[in-house]
Amino acid sequence: MRTVFAVLLLYGIGTFSYAQVTLRGQVLDSATSQPLGLSFLKIANQDLVSDTKGNFEITDIPVGDYTLHVSHVGCKIKRVHIDIQKDSFIIVYLPHHDHTFEEVVAYGHQGNREPNARRIQIVSGKKLEQLAAVSLSDALQNTNGVRFLKTGTTIAKPIINGMHSNRISVINEDSKQEGQQWGSEHAPEIDPLSAGSIEVIKGSSTLRYGGDAMGGVIRVLPAIFDDSSYTKISLLTKGETNPNGGQLGVKIENNTQKIGLGQRLVVNLKRNGDATAASYALSNTGFSQLSGSYYAHYRHGKNELALTATAFVQELGILAASHIGNLTDLNRALASDTPLITRPFTYTIKQPSQLIQHYSGKLKWHYNSDHLGPVTLSYTIQKNLRQEFDNHNRNKDAALDLNLTTQQLNVLTDKHINQWRLQYGAQGEQQQNIFQGRYFIPNYQRHKTGIFSILTIEQDHYLLEGGVRYDWQNTNTFRFVKDLVINEVFTFDGISANLSGWRRINEDLKLHLSVATRFRSPDINELFSNGLHHGSAALEFGDLSLKQERSYSLNAAFNYNHNRLQVQVEPYLHYFQNYIYLQPSGEIQLSIRGAFPVFRYIQTNARYIGTDIDISYRITSNFTAETQAALLYVKDVVSDKYIFGIPAQRVSGQLKYTFAEALSLRDGYLWIGPSYTARQNRVELDQDFVKPPDAYFLLDAEFGAQYSDTPLHFSVGVNNALNNSYRDYTNRYRYFANDLGINFYITINYTF
């Protein structure tokens, strides 16, 4: 392996002398000359997405003849042949469904601006279709710097900059996805196929989306329609061997330009049975999901109205061997190499299990005001039902039953004056939680209000942005204390601020920098946990006197493109005051179920230092080598101890071969991707039940292509090709069983 890389590197040095140029351009609708935002472009081996005004920029291409592939939602791929000899600007006109139009290519010189100061990674709708993604973890699996806190194979919470749960926000366009995010076994209820695209915004310069997203934001954007009339039906299917199951998705999209109405309906069905580790079955890990959405978009003059309705229903089994009653059970599970309960493969989900439902409705009004710039107003209602069934009370009521309702109101104005841009807006939210069955957190009603303002100056070679935000929240809780309902009130407020920007040092190098301070109010479980966390063999106690936590963050990014080499380094530093976390207290408390270790939510000061690194090198016009690394060091600076549950260091690579046409296949690729995850050695041994799992190596591979000129796209792949046995530090099932063994999959997409 090492020799291969050395050879590739030597070859690379030999080819560095090629002249390299920059290609800038814009994608426009050929009928209306309107910009086509978020068009997908591909030149040689680079994939990119144009910004919302259709602008794009490719910086490291050697001179030569190229085929530029341009596509947009609802359009056939356009192939434009260009001979690039110097820095160029091109305009690509996409004729959408009207194939009588010839594409027009114009050369010119014109500045290209980026929309804002943030560094955003985008997973396009097309990519989501190719991945046949049913969960956020499927959708973001190849996004560097995004990791997952897992409970088994189906429950995964994103980790960005080392942070997860309530330090990360999932935003549906402009309003926060509200679900019961009170534990590692609660995953966000998102159907990625309903999204037009998904953005990952790392770091803390995301004031628009709330004060508490210190680690970053995952933003789910709605569908985009072409400026022409069409109806399109897409079928997406995926079958896989481990976990044994399949998926069927249908997308129906219709746009009627005459009346300015675009509609999209997505239905996505997934079912799988028990998964298997390298050498045994993982019993009761079956999963079924039905999710979908309806989106309609109406344009008239300066007005635009959008309606979104989503539904998400998921039933999933909890690994039979992981459901434990006390520390003795846990120790017995830890002492055994294999899970204590393994049963033959089945699709049937037995208790313990979870039934999760999330429904939302959203109404958005967008108005292009002459004086204010575009104004967006939206109202969202969300309902999240969570039922957890344990081994008791079989076929009866859920042991844990929570019902969360959230209403949100958002307003945003976005005014451009020359190089200046001013955004300001406000958010209001009301949320209530009602529980039945076992007490976990109290009933509550919460009100939140936030206002913000962001000022940006955009120039060709730099961009500077400053923002300030004020958030206030008030929570009324209701719970029984000694046969009496008591009402407690918690109010938190604070200021968040951010200064960020980028500067282009030269054609090759661009620097981003962001400083921010933010605060987060303690969550309801951090305040109120009081007793046994079922299934985790721990007594967890909240603290009603917790104060809000404050972060001071520094995020940077170095973006270097030279010739065939692309380097991105994104270091970050977060310092927290009153950082809230669940710390093992060292006490053991006796109960009728046996003795339990006691964990308490405490506040301390903490420091996160880390970096995400992404290097890619185009070896030949067909071969690309890429490597990604995510490094992170976290400490409680008061006690000078490591903090529990931080992902281990990881390095991964990919060698990709692409071809434009061969064997009646088009736009084909084949990649193999090895990854190495180190052992997490930065742990306090007395803070966990067991030592962290060993380092592990995984090998994945995939082949995919479009069949001839048809709209049929397929991919076949393998995960964990070596069928290695491994356990991951951020997967809670590591106490009980190995992670997934080898898996073969096939996806087929067809668009009518």
Binding site: A320, N391, I434, F435, P442, S591
Partner: protein, 186 residues
């Protein structure tokens, strides 16, 4: 001027929205379920009857009326038995979290094919379970206990919940109760 008017109207709209949100407080939010009405095993009671003398009955208890967490257990008896004697043991599980005490033993009996009571001790005392479920597997609500020499040790009783997996082994399932009594054989 016109701009500031529009700004004000937007803010006013928002304020109105927030006020509308605040005005209603659902009855359901204000009235949470009483957690004390939930079923809970708070007490394990062991009744030892001397096989040779049925009037020699001793009862030992472990009680933690507020369940896991909260306050420490209120009663932790030491089991005292005579050496070289035979006893019959009857076990009871109770919910004493509220004033009307509930006997959970009946439920364990009804779902006997999902439950197993396991005994371990380090005091040379033999425990032989004497009751069986419909599948002929041990339950453990009653047992014959034989002591040998005078010794101090621990006598542990565990109630295992083993739906679908019960095969007589104590290693499976989820522990609902586990109490280690101090044992003195005199």
């Amino acid at each position: 001027m016109k701009q500031s008017k529009t700004n004000i109207s937007i803010l006013a709209f928002l304020a109105l929205g927030v006020i509308t949100f605040s005005s209603c407080k659902d009855d359901e939010v204000v009235n949470p379920p009483n957690p004390n009405e939930e079923e809970l095993i708070t007490t394990v009671e062991l009744v030892f009857t001397n096989a040779a003398d049925s009037s020699d009955v001793s009862t030992f208890k472990f009680a933690d009326p507020d369940g896991e967490g909260g306050n420490a257990p209120t009663q932790q008896d030491t089991i005292r038995l005579a050496q070289a004697s035979n006893y019959t043991l009857a076990v009871r599980f109770l919910d004493e979290s509220s004033s009307d005490v509930e006997d959970i033993t009946e439920e364990v009996k009804e779902e006997a094919e999902e439950h197993l009571i396991c005994y371990t001790n380090d005091a040379s005392t033999t425990v032989i379970i004497s009751d069986k479920d419909v599948n002929g597997l041990n339950i453990g609500l009653s047992a014959d206990v034989e002591t040998s020499v005078a010794v101090n040790g621990t006598f542990t009783i565990a109630l295992k919940h083993q739906p679908d997996v019960k095969d007589g082994s104590c290693d499976l399932g989820e522990t609902d109760v586990e109490v280690a009594f101090a044992l003195e054989v005199e």
